[in-house]
Amino acid sequence: MTGSGKGGRVLRYMNAEMLESARAARGRIQEAAREQVQGHLAAMRANDRPRAMAYFDGMADPFGKRAEELGRFRASGGRVVGTLCYFAPAEIFAAFGAVPVRFCSGLYEAVHPANDLLGDAGLCPLVKSTLGLKMSGASPVLELCDLVVVPTPCDAKLKLGEILQDTVEVHLMNLPAVKGTEEGRASWMNEIKGLVRRLEGLYGVRLMPRMLRKAIATYQRAQAAWRRFSALRRKGGIWGRDALLVAQVSFHDDIARWTENVNRLCDELEGRPPVAPEAARIMLGGSPVIWPNWKVPLLIEESGGIIIADELCSGSRTMYDPVVVGEWTMEGMLVAVAERYLVPCTCPSFSPNLDREENMLRRMREFGAEGAVFHVLRGCHLNSLDATKANVVLRRERLPMLKVESEYDEGDLEQVRTRIEAFIEMIRARREQSG
């Protein structure tokens, strides 16, 4: 049975009652988000913190100030495109004058509407929450997107992209599982070109080299600022939970303004002493940690640790790698963009994924990390399997790793706390022994 949804879309999988009940949850989701965001920010502000964080705090509410700003932007004819993964190339959207907004959701409350459709079938909470966010219409920004671009790194996102089409125009990007071959790169390059054609059709504009050149330059400045910030994190002048928030504000912020504020934060960090010199230096990796699902970062840093570095697609990876253009021709620029999103990425959807293990090792050494916490969202089999591999590789190098499996609800808070506390106690005991 099919019905019709908003904008005359055909409801293939959802039905009108389901959507109605999801929409009734809208206020509750927004309220819960606000409460969670304010609660976390209060906890984060309680400690010694750079002043420049105030800007990012102001942008932290997904339904707050920035949402209003984007609403006005859209009303005056601006273009907004939704994305669902690291892989959706920001430079391409920006070249069309569109603001890309990444909608991977960290809201627990938004999981419920999705469960009405999916059942509680051990699926990744990030995917359920994102679907619930759309079904409920709780995100005003998601509601005004012209298009949602969904790369297909994992089964859950692949199917999410399919189901989302009941409520919004979706463009799927077929991500190769093997990235290290000529064929893999060529197939991804085709996807990038396919996206360009889709956007050209949507906006009735032909992409010209100068449009892309300008967008690449804008993001190169953002990437340079982020690398500067990443290097400064090593000195420990900022908590990891703050650093991750900075990264994730880029998911929806005006990128030039974000860049400016990251540089301002860097200026302040240059002369700043470490916030917790005695803390166990932890690298956080694994499944995306998405604001405001700050359970694991907060627990690590409440338990005597500091997240000194991360290996997350929702953290460092967001902006770390620059687009390196060989030839500033259209083809040359597209190749550079395609490679930037494919080659350095260590998403567990790739096989082989030696890059990830090597990246973790290199970063841990570079940042003097004493242990790694590998976060696995329940239902994320790819990360769970990569955790097993990473554990073997890291332990061989005498670097301890803790795999933490968790969901969005707070039900396992104390169990996760026990594991993290024990891990940090273990690291500190080691330090005393060797020091």
Binding site: R395, E405, E414, Q415, T418, A422, E425, M426, A429, Q433
Partner: protein
């Protein structure tokens, strides 16, 4: 130097009073709705056994699931560290390199390095599969007292296979076996085997090196011990009072803190 350790577990609260490096008193009580109240009662009986008063305690460290909810302790420590500390205390000379601990809601495997520091650890998922609750729930279905499970299971000639470690599903398996008229001792032996298999898998994840120490309440269960020994192919080291090893570790840690602070 007088210190105490309180282990606020999900099913039992355990307390130990340590006087100059020797355990002088202990107490164990089922966890009540008010953790703090239970902790006070347990500590009270441990103090009574030691012939001491609360005011005489120099330092108290709490551990276990409820470690953060008691106002008695000056400091908290995770049960992993406390268990390792307790093991070092009660079995220092025995060459223990692996600790297996079945708790009420958490089952743990801890690997120690040559200096007896924690090298690695693993814990069960957040559900009751493979924990003390598993045995408790199934004992209830069988109408057998928890202390009789071990001796009964040793009479079994052919343990039955319980395929599920999920407490809820295993329960219905056991109900079916009872309905089929299967001998209780074979069912119980099967329950112990199922749990032993699960714990052994966890232990192999951190690496099983001898000697293997087994503690937590269920370590008192002789049938559980036998099943685990069979599964791992080792003879287990079981302390005299396996239930209070973790609380002892907390008390030892309290003493170390006090000594560091120069207290008496």
């Amino acid at each position: 130097m007088i210190t105490a350790g309180i282990d606020l577990g999900s099913t039992y609260v355990k307390g130990v009073v340590l006087v100059d490096g020797a355990v002088k008193g202990w107490g164990v009580q089922p966890t009540g709705p008010d953790h703090d109240e239970t902790a006070r009662a347990v500590l009270g009986s441990a103090l009574q056994m030691a012939g001491l008063r609360l005011e005489e305690l120099g330092y108290i460290v709490s551990t276990g699931y409820g470690r953060r909810v008691t106002s008695l302790a000056k400091e908290t420590i995770s049960e992993i560290s406390a268990n390792a500390e307790g093991t070092r205390f009660v079995a220092r000379a025995l060459g223990v390199r692996t600790i297996l601990d079945i708790g009420g809601q958490d089952t743990k495997a801890i690997a120690l390095d040559e200096r007896l520091n924690i090298d690695n650890f693993a814990m069960n998922d957040k559900c009751a599969a493979g924990t003390g609750r598993f045995i408790e729930a199934l004992a209830g279905v069988l109408g057998v007292g928890i202390d009789d499970m071990g001796p009964l299971s040793l009479k079994s000639q052919s343990p039955l296979r319980i395929t599920s470690t999920c407490t809820v599903f295993a329960r219905s398996e056991v109900v079916t076996l009872i309905a089929e008229g299967k001998p209780k001792e074979d069912i119980i032996a099967g329950i112990h085997e199922a749990l032993a298999k699960r714990l052994a898998t966890m232990a192999r994840k951190v690496g099983v090196r001898r000697e293997v120490f087994f503690d937590g309440g269920p370590a008192r269960n002789i049938g559980m011990r036998a099943a685990l020994e069979k599964e791992l192919g080792v003879t287990l080291v079981v302390p005299e009072r396996p239930q209070i090893v973790t609380a002892t570790g907390a008390a030892v840690l309290a003493a170390a803190r006090l000594a560091k602070a120069g207290g008496q």
